[in-house]
């Protein structure tokens, strides 16, 4: 529909918080020039040096891990090399126990970790935003029901459920992403619920109801677009969290299983070599830190851009 395309023309913004440059943030002073909120957000983000650097690094890295393997010509099914060969021009990070090229493993692990992160984020964000918005908007029974579900996820730790599922079904990357997504939505729901509660009091929501808008329309056309800033920032943080959580799960054997892989799994298979073959530990470790660090910086920049009054954490 036309309206959706039109509404994407502007960048998202916080409702009711008319962005005004405040002292001490990286948003910069926009002077007297008149800019839309979307432009302000974009401009503040572009001026956030750490976030822009992080974004550049991350984009380059993502391109690298997806494109480089095609040119390097390693195949992970080619296991002719011996066990634990030292780094050489042929294998810059050496080989692992079965003779696979560790560099390629790290590339592929990064791919899977990123895919898990993205899948998790999409699922967590969709569930979290819908749950949170409906609860905050409809309140009463819906709110109570969502609260109970959130409580349920609070008392059943991620590790337990992931363990049960993955032990029972097996650990392909998408399953891990799915499980993580089903667990990491609660913080997003909490934030969006609070925001929907506030937004629901605003007259434009009542105006939509007075016009006969359905709940679904109010949620999707009014509430969600008005909290896009919160959503984007939280989605970013969820992405970083997902990459780290996946690594932790894989480490205790409750995450991704071979033949799929992930940085957590690569790390897990090689961390014991830290003392003797440090590169086997540091390569996947640095990859994880690189990904989550850049995403955190981007999230930080986005937060500043959307809501300059909120100080960075």
């Amino acid at each position: 529909m036309a309206e959706t395309t039109e509404s994407t023309q502007t960048a998202p913004t916080h409702p009711g918080k008319v962005p005004a440059p405040s002292p001490g943030t990286d948003g910069g002073d926009v002077g007297g020039e008149f800019l839309s909120q979307g432009q302000l957000v974009r401009r503040r983000f572009l001026r956030h040096r750490a976030a822009m650097t992080a974004l550049t690094v991350l984009v380059l890295y993502v391109l690298f891990v997806y494109i480089a393997p095609f040119f390097l010509g390693y195949s992970l099914t080619d296991l002719d090399a011996g066990s634990y060969e030292d780094p050489s021009p042929a294998h810059v990070f050496g080989t692992d126990q079965v003779g696979a090229d560790v560099f390629s493993l790290v590339m592929r692990g990064s791919q899977y970790s990123l895919q898990i992160g993205v899948l998790t984020t999409v699922i967590a964000t969709v569930i979290g935003v819908l749950m949170g918005t409906f609860a905050g908007y409809l309140r009463r029974g819906t709110d109570a029901a969502v609260s109970r579900v959130t409580d349920l996820f609070l008392v059943v730790p991620l590790q337990a459920a992931a363990a049960v599922l993955i032990a029972g079904v097996g650990g392909s990357w998408w399953l891990v992403g799915l499980v993580l997504g089903f667990f990491l939505w609660t913080p997003i729901a909490r934030v969006t619920r609070a925001e929907a509660l506030a937004l629901a009091q605003r007259e434009f929501i009542e105006a939509a109801r007075a016009s006969g808008a359905t709940t679904w329309r109010i949620v999707t056309k009014h509430l969600v677009p008005n909290m896009i800033g919160t959503i984007v920032v939280n989605a970013t943080l969820t992405l970083a969290l997902a990459v780290l959580t996946e690594a932790a799960l894989s480490f205790i054997g409750l995450g991704v299983q071979i033949p799929d892989t992930s940085l957590g799994l690569v790390l897990n298979q090689n961390y014991t070599q830290l003392a003797t073959r440090p590169w086997l530990f540091w390569a996947p470790f640095v990859a994880i830190v690189l990904i989550s660090l850049t995403i955190n910086f981007i999230g930080d920049g986005l937060r500043d851009a959307f809501d300059p009054r909120q100080t960075r954490r």
């Binding site: 529909m1 036309a2 309206e3 039109e6 509404s7 502007t10 998202p12 913004t13 409702p15 008319v18 839309s36 909120q37 605003r202 007259e203 434009f204 009542e206 105006a207 939509a208 109801r209 007075a210 016009s211 006969g212 808008a213 359905t214 329309r217 056309k221 009014h222 677009p225 008005n226 896009i228």
Partner: protein
């Protein structure tokens, strides 16, 4: 309940059958929950209590009262934006109370609303065209996108905006312009009745007149009925055919604008009117002597006073006011003016 009649007839209780909108004994409360373990409902805020009024086709009914008197809740209860507890709202012969959201939806085409806050009532994320088009999209008024766009442009013209404005966002407009957008949105689906909830009170005085004139103009051109809610008595007098005065959830006086303003019977109406500054300084000075000054706070609607709700602040209050709830009673033979007071102002028939 009442058969639809082509002509409004006035009955003895001061309201007329056959009007486009008939509100009878409308009561809306908000529950007060305990902080106990099970959060039982322990009381109710009586926002609207037993309100009866009606609006004829093409007529403007003004509702005035202090803030917190329930006038906005009345408007929202009529439109079923807030579910009333009891009473009846008959619009064009159809009972609205008890309709599900789904059953209500088609009726919303004909019942529109304009809000007080021109900043808060427009979604900042949508361009003007989409704001105005929303009711059209909801009710699928037009099959073709081009028709819809033409209608939006038409509406923009109708409220005095340019069609070039259609892709701008509400924050790029002034308060008066935004209210015009709000009005255009209300008009979009061709409603018959519009509830105007303090449509000009948030605007600069200089802009108010323009918007009020626009509303009058539109009423004339489109044959609309208005339920005009405001606390500004002069604006209400200007635009209304009839006026209802509300105090603490109840209608205390209702009648033709001229009668209510010129011959207020209820002490509260008097007090309200006497607070309005007159444009003529000498008239103002003269009036000051007879001014009724309200003392005390408005009582809590969760625990309203017994009998007459106004008695705690009424200079004429007597024991009877605490014991007996005053009913609306006619002030004139034509039943065009009713009030609820045991000891009314004005003429001498205060004995009843």
């Amino acid at each position: 309940m009442t058969a639809p009649a082509s002509d409004a007839t006035t009955t003895s209780d001061g309201v007329r059958d056959g009007a486009l909108l008939q509100v009878r004994d409308l009561t809306t409360t908000f529950p007060v929950r305990s902080n106990g373990v099970f959060r039982r409902t322990v009381g109710a805020v009586q926002a609207v209590t037993g309100v009866s009024l009606d609006v004829d086709a093409g007529e403007t009914l003004g509702i005035v009262g202090e803030s917190g008197c329930g006038k906005s809740t009345t408007g929202r209860s009529i439109l079923q934006l807030i579910r009333p507890d009891s009473g009846s709202v008959v619009y064009d012969g159809r009972e609205l109370v008890g309709l599900s959201a789904k059953e209500m939806r088609p009726l919303r085409r004909e019942l529109a609303m304009v809000f007080q806050d021109p900043f808060g009532s427009l979604d900042p994320r949508l361009p003007v065209a989409e704001l105005i088009a929303e009711p059209l999209r909801i009710h699928q008024v037009y099959a073709a996108e081009s028709d819809l766009r033409a209608r939006v442009d038409e509406l923009l013209g109708l409220v005095g905006l340019k069609s070039e404005h259609r892709n701008r966002y509400s924050h790029e407009f002034s308060g008066g312009q935004r209210q015009r957008i709000g009005i255009a949105r209300a008009l979009a689906a061709n409603p018959r009745l519009i509830v105007l909830d303090e449509p000009v009170s948030a605007l600069d005085v200089s802009v108010q007149a323009g918007v009020v004139n626009l509303l009058e103009d539109l009423q004339e051109r489109l044959g609309l009925s208005y339920l005009f809610i405001a606390h500004d008595l002069s604006v209400v007098r200007h635009i209304s055919d009839r006026v209802a005065v509300m105090y603490l959830g109840k209608v205390v006086e209702l009648g033709d604008a001229a009668q209510v303003y010129d011959n207020p019977r209820h002490p509260y109406t008097r007090a309200l009117l006497s607070a309005v500054p007159l444009p003529d300084p000498s008239a103002e000075r003269r009036r000051r002597k007879s001014r009724v000054v309200l003392s005390g706070e408005i009582p809590s609607p969760a625990d309203p006073p017994s009998g007459c709700r106004f008695r705690t602040r009424c200079p004429k209050a007597q024991q009877r006011c605490a014991d007996e709830v005053p009913l609306l009673r006619p002030s004139d033979a034509a039943n065009r003016h009713t009030f609820a007071c045991h000891f009314p102002d004005g003429d001498a028939d205060s004995a009843a």
